[in-house]
């Protein structure tokens, strides 16, 4: 019973954070058609900015106020400069996708390298709300609860934005069919850049939450990108609820395998990824 | 026994029947027209015959042999070739190589002769011999459609499925295209063509099949079709092109 609770609730708490990490990637790939391998690096940068600010005595949740708009602008500009250029030059969407991914690889190297130059490659960690609360026979970390709640909150706000505002609807239209949306008077380059920006902002916020719960290092990004890839494949591309469900499932699987053999946790996620690609490549919420 | 025969061919796309319970047949040497409004399931039927899609339920027989579970390349090698509604050429490869692919893989052992000479013959046949070494993407749409025809013919087919090869052509090109189809027929190849250009259909086809909402609504000679009530109903409001 204790083990079940540990896995289930522990998994949900981790899954909440994972779903925020993957939501950004889902937007970037599902709508803007850029498979942003550097997603995890944006997250890592967010984490380090948070670390730096908290070392100056700021509450580690406060930096999100700065990080979100800052990362949004960076993402937006990046899309308008690099990816729009590639998009215009590509003869078909397939070529754009592969070239976009390769450019994202370039971005991954650059961002990680800059971070290594600034912070080196040693791990950083600090204690924030490092206490536990009990549910039945099990203990859980307060900081993870805070982070998961924060992640769910951000996800909800964004979901409302997508479903009820004009820009949100334009994004959803572009996700369905960017060519038609373009014909309907949606400025498609702007909307895609918007999505990329939102993706980057979410990565930044996710970085803050990761920083609260886990040790961070400049080389941690790719690992989270891989997990996020599995989650968005599981949940369905471009689907916010899909990212949530996928995140929670992966969170629970990850925690369960961690109880059994931590060495195989990432491998387990990957096996799920393989099975999924072969059985239902569209994902749970995919159309 | 018919050359090609379809029995109760059906396929669903997400609950929607794109082709539903269609029976059809082809006899050697004929030219059959396949018409119907947009979205009637004509191209889907081609996809089913050529192996891009698998019917469920239903079966397709080629010379009495079931082919509806076979992969596309095998169907091609057996002798059913096709062109595409939106041209699918190998754009960065020269025209010769486009045709050579069909000859080397589709005809697969059917040709003992010199392949280069055969490619040359085919290009002459469709009238592309003077642009043989140009990258295919640099050609006009009309020419690109002819590359597809040449590539399909290169596989030495018994049945050739032509998907709107006359759409978007100017009057001169149209006449040339009609000539080409007749020449193909003379070669002994059975032709099925999807076309919206009624003049062409009526002028060339021995027999016409009409599809609407995935169902076969009429079949017969051009004369029979033009007087068929159902067909007129379906085409009412559409131009008489």
């Amino acid at each position: 019973m204790a083990l079940f609770l540990n896995i289930f609730i522990g998994g949900l708490l981790i899954g909440g954070i994972y779903s925020l990490v993957s939501m950004g990637l889902s937007l970037q790939y599902g709508v803007a058609r850029v498979f942003n391998i550097a997603h995890g690096e944006f997250m890592m940068f967010g984490a380090f900015v948070t670390y730096w600010l908290q070392s100056l005595g700021v509450n580690p949740l406060i930096p999100t106020i700065v990080i979100a708009p800052l990362f949004f602008v960076v993402g937006f500009i990046l899309y308008r400069t690099v990816f729009t250029g590639i998009r215009v030059r590509s003869p078909n969407p397939g070529v754009f996708e592969s070239n976009g991914m390769l450019a994202a690889f370039g971005l991954y190297f650059i961002v990680q390298n800059i971070a290594v130059l600034i912070w080196g490659s040693t791990p950083y960690a600090f204690a924030y709300l490092n206490t536990s609360f009990g549910i039945g026979p099990s203990d859980f970390r307060v900081n993870r609860l805070v982070a998961a709640a924060f992640a769910v909150g951000i996800g909800l706000i964004f979901y409302l934005f997508l479903t009820s505002t004009r820009s949100g609807k334009a994004i959803r239209a572009a996700a369905q069919d960017s060519a038609t949306a373009g014909l309907m008077g949606v400025d498609i380059n702007f909307v895609l850049a918007l999505c990329f920006g939102f993706g980057a902002a979410m990565a930044g916020i996710a970085g803050t939450l990761i920083c609260i719960c886990y040790p961070i290092s400049t080389t941690m990004g790719l690992q989270y990108t891989v997990i996020a890839t599995v989650i968005i494949t599981l949940g369905g591309l471009g689907s916010i609820p899909g990212s949530f469900i996928g995140g929670l499932i992966i969170g629970i699987v990850y925690t369960a395998v961690n109880y059994w053999q931590p060495g195989l946790a990432v491998a387990a996620c990957y096996v799920i990824f393989i099975i999924l690609l072969l059985v239902r490549p569209k994902g749970i919420m995919g159309r | 026994m018919h050359l090609l025969e379809g029995k109760g061919v059906t396929i669903h796309f997400g609950g929607l029947a794109a082709v539903s319970d269609v029976d059809f047949y082809l006899d050697k040497g004929e030219v059959v027209g396949l018409i119907g409004p947009n979205g009637a399931g004509k191209t889907t039927l081609f996809n089913l015959v050529s192996g891009a899609l698998k019917p469920n339920p239903g079966e397709i027989l080629f010379k009495g042999k079931k082919i509806n579970r076979m992969p596309a390349y095998k169907i091609c090698r057996m002798g059913i070739a096709r062109t595409f509604q939106t041209v699918k050429i190998f754009g960065n490869m020269p025209v010769v190589d486009n045709v050579k692919i069909g000859l080397l893989f589709g005809a697969h052992g059917k040709i003992k002769k010199d392949t280069n000479a055969e490619v040359k013959n085919l290009l002459e046949f469709v009238g592309l011999d003077d642009v043989a070494n140009t990258p295919a993407r640099d050609l006009t749409l009309a020419h690109q459609k002819r590359i597809e025809v040449a590539r399909a013919l290169a596989t030495q087919p018994e049945i050739l499925l032509l998907d709107e090869i006359m759409a978007g052509l100017n009057p001169t090109e149209l006449v040339e295209a009609m000539e080409l189809v007749k020449k193909i027929q003379k070669k002994g190849v059975t032709v099925v063509m999807i076309e919206h250009v009624m003049k062409a259909i009526m002028g060339i086809c021995d027999r016409i099949t009409v599809l609407d909402y995935g169902k076969k609504i009429a079949e017969g000679t051009p004369q029979e079709i033009t007087t068929n009530k159902k067909v007129i109903e379906v085409y009412l409001g559409e131009s008489d092109a």
């Binding site: 790939y29 498979f35 690099v82 250029g85 590639i86 030059r89 397939g94 996708e97 592969s98 070239n99 991914m101 390769l102 450019a103 690889f105 370039g106 971005l107 991954y108 190297f109 650059i110 990680q112 390298n113 130059l117 891989v226 494949t233 053999q261 060495g263 195989l264 491998a267 990957y270 096996v271 990824f273 393989i274 690609l277 490549p281 | 050529s50 192996g51 891009a52 992969p71 596309a72 390349y73 091609c76 070739a81 595409f84 699918k88 050429i89 190998f90 960065n92 490869m93 190589d97 692919i101 069909g102 080397l104 893989f105 589709g106 005809a107 697969h108 392949t115 280069n116 399909a152 596989t155």
Partner: protein, 324 residues
Amino acid sequence: MNLSNINWKQLSKTFAAPLVILLALALMPFYGWEYGVSLFSHFLIYIILTVSWVMFSGATGYISLATAAFYGIGIYSAALLHPATGFSLPLIAVIIVSAAASFLVAFIVGAITLRLKGIYFAMFTFGLVLLLFQVINYVETSILGQRGRFVALESNETIYYYLLGIFVVTMIVTFFIKNTKYGLALRSIGENEDAAAHSGVNVTMVKVLIFAVSAALMSTVGVVMATKTIYVDASTAFNPMMSFSPALMAIFGGMANLYGPAVGAVIFSYVQEILQTGNLNNYYMLIFGSILIATILYMPQGLMGLIQNLWNRLKGAKRALTRG
């Protein structure tokens, strides 16, 4: 390729230069430049990996990030079959076994995954590297209680000649594929898979086969390199950079002709060497990334494509001049 009407003059022109290069490379160990042998081995590794990568990914447009996985299979083959102590097969036998193993793995993986399009294929292949790393690491440390394995040390010259041999084989295979109907089929798949299938090309078979051939070549490099680094554990065998580097080198060099990938590989491995010994390694990834983005944006045909364009323009200008 039509054998009946080979133009011998042209053939000699095509092959004269490669033979001269090959001869120069073969005499390398006799120049008395000891470190040169190591340096050129380093170049050869990346040339072979890059050319084999282009063999499949360049033609079909399927971006494979599994290079490190096959390279790692080679390294582990050497660790298991050519260890420092105990029963050891001769190196050439290990190379063959490893190539066969890699071919088999790639064949199976390819058969399952090559219907995945675009990004999914890339992610899948990259995941394969991580999966192999995690599983082998787990089995080695937690089940077998291994603390890494040791491979028998070979001399630098032996390693160099093995690599040179593999290089020649790789080039011959590439040349062969390019000039037979399979090369044509592979290109047609890259251009339009549907049309290829409906023209009678057994798309899956061609893709899987060439993918497996390129994987086999990649793994042989791993075998040879293992006899140089000697100590093998999962993290040294499955290094993700081994997946990224060949892709970048190929894109930078240009994939349109046979030499582009090789030139890209030499330039990049040389840059890496300079940065390493100048302790500017910190900037390697930065340079790597920037060049990657710049190449995709401004030089889509790669370095060789750029040179060719410039040359064509120069020639065009000259002609225009003489005409005027």
